[in-house]
Symmetry: C2
Subunit: 217 residues, 2 copies
DNA sequence: GTGCGCTACCGTACGCCGTATCCATGAGAT
DNA sequence: ATCTCATGGATACGGCGTACGGTAGCGCAC
């Protein structure tokens, strides 16, 4: 079976899913494919192009068309598929926003999002649309990055509260006991029980409400 | 003059400003300080702790206290200082959201932001506060990442429109000419003249308006 | 049939990285 | 004068991305 860009990307994605972006190297991908490292460069100019390939492959998962619906439902669907993809492929969140999204599938997702947003009330012209798109994708990028980061630290310190406290506790409680961070302290002590998905959805609603508010009061 | 964590961080920051995170290595920092590479490990456990040091040093710039003011003015000031820092230190945007923000100065910024947000109308309890903080910082993270990425590609392809068109044009216009991305095409052709800072401010306003809207209609 | 150029593949090698480990030096204590 | 011990340096290891030279196979001109 001959090599191909798609096969390379698929293998790279599997490795990145298992070992993270830091654990991903051209040599390991090649070994997993049973070829010499330099073979990959027959299909790809350099490693960053390979990352672009991986990213666009994930956008392909996100792009699956759903039947046309009201703008808000469409946006919600796309955004939630993106979140699902980022949780499946945590490295995807690391790359989000770090490179121009120009692959064909990324463009398809952008097109669907833009088309839906252009139907939203409060989005009146091309400038409004451009801005709406950029707030939404900024929020999405940041929220997914944060969620993935939190997940990773939870995994590395242990999920339960006691493990977390013993690992970060000494430093953090010392910090908070200085009394210089009262509000943060309150958040740590009294907060922290919110469900991640529900928070994401709530915040997304906040952003969409901001977009659709009437800008002239 | 002996080494110190602060001196190391300052040198690392200068190098990262000049050559980016990819161009930053322990060996180069050591050389710039006129010592052997391994000396740095007397002050730092590993490279990622060094990055944490750098990040918190930037948060120190952001944390400079301003006189107490109305909540929105305070938030605007902090956010705009963060943006300024990210434009001064583009690598900072790469790291934003990628690691837990727990340094003393990062905590100080978090504290000031949380304290201000807790005064905002529509933020009614600790859960509201937690959510408001997370939308805001998700937006901030994503927006800065996007702005820095755009800036970098602009710099690498050349600033003016013609250079951009000749570098990405062939691929992009071919893509857009397929007719599969009409809305994106409109955005590319008719948009693109918006000022970055003004867009940022507008989008920030959108998010803050979303936060302060009355959630019970 | 024979020689030739071209393409497609491959292994080796270079210069870098983070960092573990061992060694030299020399100051201060006894 | 000798011992102790902190300080800084050199070396080395395993891994990285990728440049490059070689070679094996094949279509084709004569």
């Amino acid at each position: 079976m001959p090599l191909s860009r798609a096969k390379i990307a698929a293998t790279a994605i599997r490795l990145a899913d298992d070992h993270g972006l830091d654990g991903l190297s051209v040599r390991k991908i090649a070994k997993a494919l049973g070829v010499g490292p330099m073979r990959l460069y027959d299909y790809v100019a350099n490693k960053s192009e390979l990352l672009d390939l991986m990213v666009d492959a994930v956008y392909a998962e996100i792009a699956e068309a759903d039947q046309p619906a009201e703008w808000r439902a469409t946006v919600l669907a796309i955004v939630h598929r993106t979140r699902a993809a980022a949780l499946d492929h945590e490295w995807f969140a690391d790359l989000l926003g770090a490179r121009p999204r120009l692959g064909p599938h990324a463009l398809a997702v952008g097109e669907a999002t833009a088309a839906a947003l252009s139907q939203a009330p409060g989005v009146r012209g091309i400038d409004d649309l451009q801005r709406a798109l950029s707030v939404l994708s900024a929020f999405l990028t940041g929220a997914l990055r944060a969620e993935v980061t939190e997940r990773r630290t939870a995994r590395s310190t242990g999920t339960d509260v006691t493990a977390w406290q013993t690992s970060l506790g000494p430093y953090l409680t010392r910090m908070l006991d200085t009394g210089r961070y009262p509000t943060v302290a309150r958040l740590v002590v009294e907060g922290a029980h919110l469900d991640a998905e529900e928070t994401f959805h709530h915040n997304l609603t906040t952003v969409l409400d901001g977009i659709t508010r009437d800008p002239r009061r």
